[in-house]
């Protein structure tokens, strides 16, 4: 388990991570979601042992990670800007990682390269951005580490490859102890792969929940009230996150389970009522809007 307790990290006057506490349980795909500059990469780098926390604790299986090679042997980190040795081939990388990670499986790596139609003898610097990411992911999978930290790694992968990687992750998780942590702001990509999502905004955690729970606990309702009195009756006592009104059509995002929300709305008379499915992106927008990150500010100024 990866545990972050009151983690703080600043760069001069800029607070990149503000008192973050998170638990990443073993055996789940953890999605780290956040606005640009929220601190996702900083958190991943801290977990990978690249950054030393200013204060707070980062523990991997109850061991501090910074400058601790024993812990780092369990972590494979794929940075948002991957580095490969000049003029190296996937074969060279396999040789290198073979000396670094005890459980690196070179043969499996070559097989997987074949599966993804990547030439092991071709120079990596001639690969496309997406191909380089594939190489990194395959290296990570074959390193045999317990944790794999992926920073924006899925951005730029084509849908087929993404699906393939998801399958590999699933297979890996079923075969051995494997916990991928994926940071991204492309929520549609994370939605069908992550079991748990941590929402980061301005260096702090807004929420950390299972994706399924998240969707259950937030509802998006479209309705037309008969009168303003009915509107008041329906919304009374509800935790309204977003309330958008166009003409007589109301679009309301409310915190709460579907049954409870439907019951509450029925207190007022409605001409039209429908509960819509919430995407992870909508949950993200709703939650961040609550803490002041309003997309409309960018559009309307």
């Amino acid at each position: 388990m990866i545990e972050l307790i009151e983690l703080n990290k600043s760069f001069d006057d800029i607070k990149a991570v503000n008192n973050v506490s998170l638990k990443i349980s073993d055996g789940e795909v953890f999605g780290l979601v956040g606005t640009n500059g929220a601190g996702k990469s900083t958190i991943l780098r801290t977990i990978a042992g690249v950054y030393k926390p200013d204060s707070g604790i980062v523990c991997v299986d109850n061991r501090p990670v910074y400058d601790n090679p024993d812990v780092k042997k369990d972590i494979f980190y794929i940075s948002d800007e991957q580095y490969f040795f000049p003029n190296c081939t996937p074969e060279d990388l396999a040789d290198f990682y073979g000396t670094v990670y005890d459980n690196f499986d070179k043969q499996r790596f070559f097989d997987m390269l074949n599966g993804f139609m990547l030439d092991k003898s071709r120079k990596v610097n001639t690969f496309s951005k997406g191909m380089k990411k594939q190489v990194s992911i395959l290296l990570g999978l074959c390193a045999g580490t317990k944790y794999m930290l992926c920073d924006e790694t899925f951005d730029g992968l084509d849908p087929v490859v993404r699906q393939g990687v998801k399958s590999l992750f699933a297979a890996e998780m079923s075969d051995r102890e494997f916990t991928p942590v994926i940071a991204s702001h492309n929520l549609r990509e994370l939605e069908d792969i992550c079991d748990h999502v941590g929402l980061i905004h301005l260096g702090g955690v807004i929420l950390s929940e299972d994706v399924s729970d998240m969707k259950v606990c937030m509802q998006k309702v479209q309705c037309v009230f008969a009168s303003e009195e009915d509107e008041s009756k329906a919304l009374e006592g509800l935790d309204v996150l977003i309330h958008d009104k166009r003409g007589r059509l109301h679009t309301i995002t409310v915190r709460g389970e579907r049954e409870h929300v439907e019951k509450s709305f029925k207190r007022g008379e409605m001409i039209f009522f429908e509960v819509l499915a919430l995407t992870l992106e909508e949950i993200f927008i709703s939650e961040t809007e609550v803490v002041g990150y309003d997309i409309r500010k960018f559009i309307m100024g």
Binding site: G49, P69, Y77, S79, C88, D95, T99, D102, K106
Partner: protein, 721 residues
């Protein structure tokens, strides 16, 4: 199969293969570059020596000497290629730690399962092993080339091995100091500047302290060698010049290699120790700084705020002092002491400007020029302190005379280094340096006090009248202290006799005691104002014994100040590959030498200039408008030394009557030489050059002066109206 199944040996092999591949480009680039730098010049030098020997029919001994010297010059301790090695150290440091300037590389390397200490250690090990392999390979190739050409001997090989070790130490020192600079900086450009700063700052600062002494102290001697510490660059430079000194001392003869090496090791021992100490200190600093170095420091100019402060303060001080010294050098020809105010103001202005500039560079932002005022103020305060310490001589530099009990021996250098020798690479200065050891220090120190007081009192004078000399104190603590002084003309003669009449002084000051004229073809020429005679194929020892006897019996201050030289003996020795010339001024009381010259019939019966031989006289008045004739001797001495005239008048005389009057008033003796006081004997305002017919049908020129108060009236009328 996973890596866990691999044996430990297989893992090492795999790692080495991977490392080897990644470092291959370094071998590919550095190895040929080093080979070109070391082996090719050696080959060319050796071929040149052989060609030269063939063309000029050199003996086998001379050829061997030239070949061995070629080896020493390229791979021995006379090798300037140590500079290339230092440059390699800087390049390797940037190669090994360039990942600190790249975020993606940092992410990659810092996330690998290793510790930061192991990572640094690995970079050090790779750089050192790589460069050592390359250097040794190149050295072995060069030694093989030298051996094939028959240019090796035991001592030469030892010299090469010693230099190889010194090169490795220098490489390590430059590598570590550059690594320290990289650790302290977050951008490549600032790291390059920082590396230059760390490698050169103590050297620059030490040279500036040397320059400040030159600016402010009247007794400063250029013989005082700046001795920076923690400066491998200066240490390497001193090692190179130290080798040249040692080689010169022993005439660059490889058969004297044991002596050369011993002298060389003594010359450079302190520098080598400093280089090693600096390297160790930098290694320790790297260790501590790396512990503070974080991935997030990338992009910052200087990662630690205190280092940034120190950098700025030192940068301001060093540039301001340098600026001040440059201004002094520019104005030194027209220097007057009110310009010290200009110096001080310039120094402060430069400091403020540098403060702004450093802030702009460190922030990479023009708007930051006004930041860091406290550091600029600190630099200004330190500069003012330095200025007033030097201006007020608070360190007592200009009155320093050591206690007799702390002095091992003293020496006195004349400022005319070439008087006795026109010999290859030899000077009187070097003779005195190697031979004068005056142990009776009391009279010497007393003379030093008088001279220091006099020099201080004449601070404003450009050239105070007196004998300019350099005092040297070899202290018992191993230090050597030099002071330039002017010994006043009116110094107590008894005191100076005590100083100059000791055997230690004579044997150390008059170079004839060290002359070994090892040639079978030695000729003697005796030159007076009136004649020039030659004695071919002499036995130099016979002459030297007479001359040395005369010096031991007659050389002392009082007789030299008041006596005259009647002529000059010149001995020329054919040394096969060169001619060495030795000059011996002949005092009027040097009876043994005069007897020697008489024995061989080359001592003239008369020293008067033969009017019949004089065809023309050119007289120059170097001080038009002055009349030295009407001044006292002391006034003339002051005027002669103190007034610089850019104007002059001259005239040629051919009229027989005028020539007769001129010749009858000419001083036919020599007035130069040690401790000569000419102002009561010669009229120094006028110089003349006489064109005379010689005994061989040609013409020669004789330079001389009028006797004091004997300038003919027509000369004054012609040249001083």
């Amino acid at each position: 199969m996973t890596s866990a199944n691999l044996s430990w040996g297989d893992k090492i092999k795999a790692n080495r293969k991977s490392m080897g591949k990644r470092r291959l480009w370094a071998y590919v680039l550095v190895l040929p570059a080093m080979a070109v730098a070391f082996v090719v010049p050696l080959l060319l030098y050796l071929l040149r020596a052989i060609n030269y020997a063939n063309d000029y029919a050199q003996t086998r001994e001379v050829l061997l000497y030239e070949k061995q010297w070629s080896v020493l010059r390229i791979i021995g301790f006379d090798s300037p290629l140590i500079a290339v090695v230092g440059l390699m150290g800087v390049i390797y440091a940037f190669m090994g730690f360039s990942y600190l300037f790249s975020k993606s590389k940092l992410d990659f390397y810092l996330s690998l399962p290793t510790t930061s200490a192991r990572r640094v250690l690995n970079a050090f090990a790779v750089a050192l092993s790589n460069f050592t392999c390359i250097l040794l390979a190149v050295e072995i190739a060069a030694i093989l080339v030298a051996a094939i050409f028959g240019a090796l001997s035991g001592p030469v090989l030892i010299a090469v091995l010693i230099q190889t070790i010194r090169m490795l130490v220098f490489f390590y020192a430059c590598f570590t100091m550059t690594t320290l600079a990289i650790m302290l900086c977050g951008t490549r450009i600032i790291a390059i500047l920082m590396a230059a700063f760390l490698l050169c700052i103590t050297c620059v600062f030490s040279l500036e302290m040397y320059g400040l002494k030159r600016v402010f102290f009247v007794t400063f001697s250029r013989k005082s060698i700046p001795s920076p510490f923690l400066s491998p660059v200066y240490d390497a430079y001193t090692g190179y010049t130290g080798s040249l000194d040692a080689l010169k001392l022993y005439d660059r003869a490889p058969y004297k290699m044991a002596d050369i090496m011993s002298t060389y090791m003594n010359n450079v021992f302190a520098c080598d120790m400093d280089m090693i100490f600096t390297a160790v200190l930098a290694t320790v600093a790297v260790y501590f700084i790396y512990k503070h170095r974080r991935a997030e420091h990338i992009g910052k100019t200087v990662i630690l705020r205190p280092v940034r402060w120190v950098l700025k303060v030192i940068g301001c001080i060093v540039t301001s002092l340098a600026g001040m010294i440059v201004i002094y050098i520019l104005y030194s020809k027209v220097w007057n002491h009110s310009l010290y105010i200009v110096l001080c103001v310039a120094m402060l202005v430069i400091c403020i400007l540098m403060g702004c500039l450093i802030e702009i560079v460190l922030d990479a932002n023009v708007k930051s020029f006004s930041k860091g005022k406290s550091q600029t103020l600190m630099a200004l305060a330190i500069l003012l302190l330095i200025f007033f310490i030097y201006r007020g001589d608070l360190i007592g530099y200009d009155c320093y005379v050591p206690k007799a009990s702390s002095v091992e021996y003293c020496a006195l250098y004349t400022h005319e280094p070439y008087g006795y020798y026109s010999m290859y690479d030899e000077t009187r200065t070097r003779y005195i340096k190697n031979n004068m050891r005056v142990k009776d220090v009391e009279p010497f120190l007393q003379m030093a006090r008088v001279s220091m007081d006099y020099s201080r009192s004449k601070r404003e004078a450009k050239r105070p009248s007196g004998w300019p000399m350099t005092l040297t104190y070899k202290l018992k603590n191993g230090k050597t202290v030099y002071r330039n002084v002017t010994i006043p003309y009116d110094i107590d003669p008894d005191l100076m006799d005590k100083v100059t009449s000791s055997d230690e002084f004579k044997k150390g000051y008059v170079p004839c005691f060290g002359d070994i004229i090892a040639s079978e073809n030695v000729d003697l020429y005796f030159e007076t104002r009136s004649e020039y005679k030659v004695l071919l194929r002499i036995d130099p020892q016979e002459f030297l014994e007479c001359y040395r006897q005369d010096v031991m019996e007659n050389y002392k201050f009082s007789s030299l100040k008041n006596g005259r030289y009647v002529g000059r003996v010149e001995i020329t020795a054919d040394m096969i590959d060169r001619f060495d010339t030795y000059e011996y001024p002949l005092g009027e009381n040097y009876s043994h030498t005069i007897e020697y010259l008489k024995k061989y019939n080359i001592y003239p019966k008369s020293f008067d200039i033969d009017l019949d031989k004089v065809t023309e006289v050119n007289i120059t008045n170097n001080w038009p408008g002055y009349d030295f004739d009407s001044n006292t001797d002391e006034e003339v001495a002051d005027m002669y030394n103190g007034i610089h005239s850019y104007d002059f008048t001259e005239k040629n005389y051919t009229d027989k009557e005028q020539l007769k009057e001129i010749v009858s008033n000419v001083d036919s003796s020599y007035s130069d030489g040690d401790w000569a006081y000419i102002y009561d004997k010669d009229e120094v305002q006028y110089w003349m050059s006489m064109k005379c017919k010689d005994n061989y049908g040609g013409e020669s020129y004789v330079n001389c002066n009028f006797l004091r108060h004997k300038v003919p009236q027509f000369v004054k009328e012609d040249l001083n109206n």
